[in-house]
């Protein structure tokens, strides 16, 4: 009788699950912020949302896509997303603050 058993293959999922929990929490935080209306949020709200986008994008790039082993590509994609969201946030803040009137 063969008593040699191959050990069951196992994989680590904790990092992926933690990333998912943080992504969902940040999404809900963004939604929660959109429910509030305050004078201060007119000025800083789009910038907070832009920061949330960047944070979520970094999590997707590092955890889901595994770009930690290619730091240059990670920096390039993060910079592109930073530029994209910050310009949108600044334009929308300018409009919300009545800059077009």
């Amino acid at each position: 009788m063969n008593t040699n058993k191959t050990p069951p293959k196992s994989i680590q999922m904790n990092d992926l699950l933690k990333a998912w929990v943080v992504l969902v929490a940040l999404t809900l935080l963004g939604y929660g912020l959109s429910l509030f209306s305050s004078e201060l949020l007119v000025y800083v709200g789009p910038l907070i949302i832009a920061a949330l986008i960047l944070f979520k994008a970094r999590i997707i790039l590092t955890r889901y896509l595994g770009l930690t082993r290619c730091p240059a590509w990670l920096s390039m994609l993060s910079s592109m997303i930073f530029a994209l969201t910050m310009i949108c946030a600044v334009l929308l803040t300018f409009v919300s603050a009545g800059g077009t009137q």
Binding site: L16, L33, S34
Partner: protein, 203 residues
């Protein structure tokens, strides 16, 4: 024996000292061409989002009124669905690396099913808008809304086809390339959703 050890040491030393460019394409997960595509897609969507934000400078009243018809809770739910789908895709790659083919395919099925739910909810959202008479010609806000979200939806459909193909041939390389596309779809939505639905609402 000593010769073999010496040879191994030489090889190890050569690899250790070999300068590797941080831009080296071979370090990227999956096919390098997929990453060229991902960069170009971010640029294309980025251009459309800048057009959207820039257009608000010209039509602030139209944008303010148009935003009141957006279904933010439904879009938030759709974001969570797509993020969960991304989780399943990432899990599928882990299973593929240890050659657990059945579990890989089941994870891909989970990712694909959530992708289908995303499409269904998006179509429901479009129907809701069309019932209110808000179509692609209503104003610039809705022209860009349908253009950007519709183009993203086309990517979700294409991503589902890719997930189906890699489920048939779940090699590690195929899995990394295919799921990279799916995560890109996820990433783009994570940018589109707040810019269209959240910024400029109360914020």
């Amino acid at each position: 024996m000593d010769e073999v050890c010496q040879k191994d040491n030489e090889t190890a030393e050569r690899v250790y000292h070999q300068p590797v460019s941080p831009w080296a394409l071979e370090n990227l997960p999956g096919d390098p061409m997929m990453w060229i595509l991902i960069v170009s897609e971010i640029l294309v969507f980025g251009g459309a989002l800048w057009a959207f934000a820039g257009n608000e400078l010209l039509n602030p009243e139209i944008y303010r009124e148009a935003r009141t018809h957006l279904n933010v809770p439904l879009a938030t739910l759709n974001t969570i669905i797509l993020l969960t789908s991304g989780l399943f895709a990432a899990i599928a790659v882990r299973f593929a690396k240890i050659k657990e083919i059945v579990k890989t395919r089941l994870s891909l099925l989970g990712a694909g099913s959530l992708g289908v739910v995303f499409i269904a909810l998006k179509i429901y959202e479009y129907k809701e808008k069309l019932a209110l008479g808000l179509n692609v010609e209503t104003n610039t806000f809705y022209t860009l809304y349908y253009l950007v979200t519709g183009f993203h939806l086309a990517h979700v459909i294409f991503g589902l086809i890719i997930l189906g193909i890699i489920a048939l041939w779940p090699t590690e390389d195929n899995m990394e390339s295919g799921t990279a596309f799916w995560h890109m779809v996820d990433l783009i939505w994570v940018i589109i959703f707040p810019i269209f639905y959240l910024m400029g609402q109360g914020l």
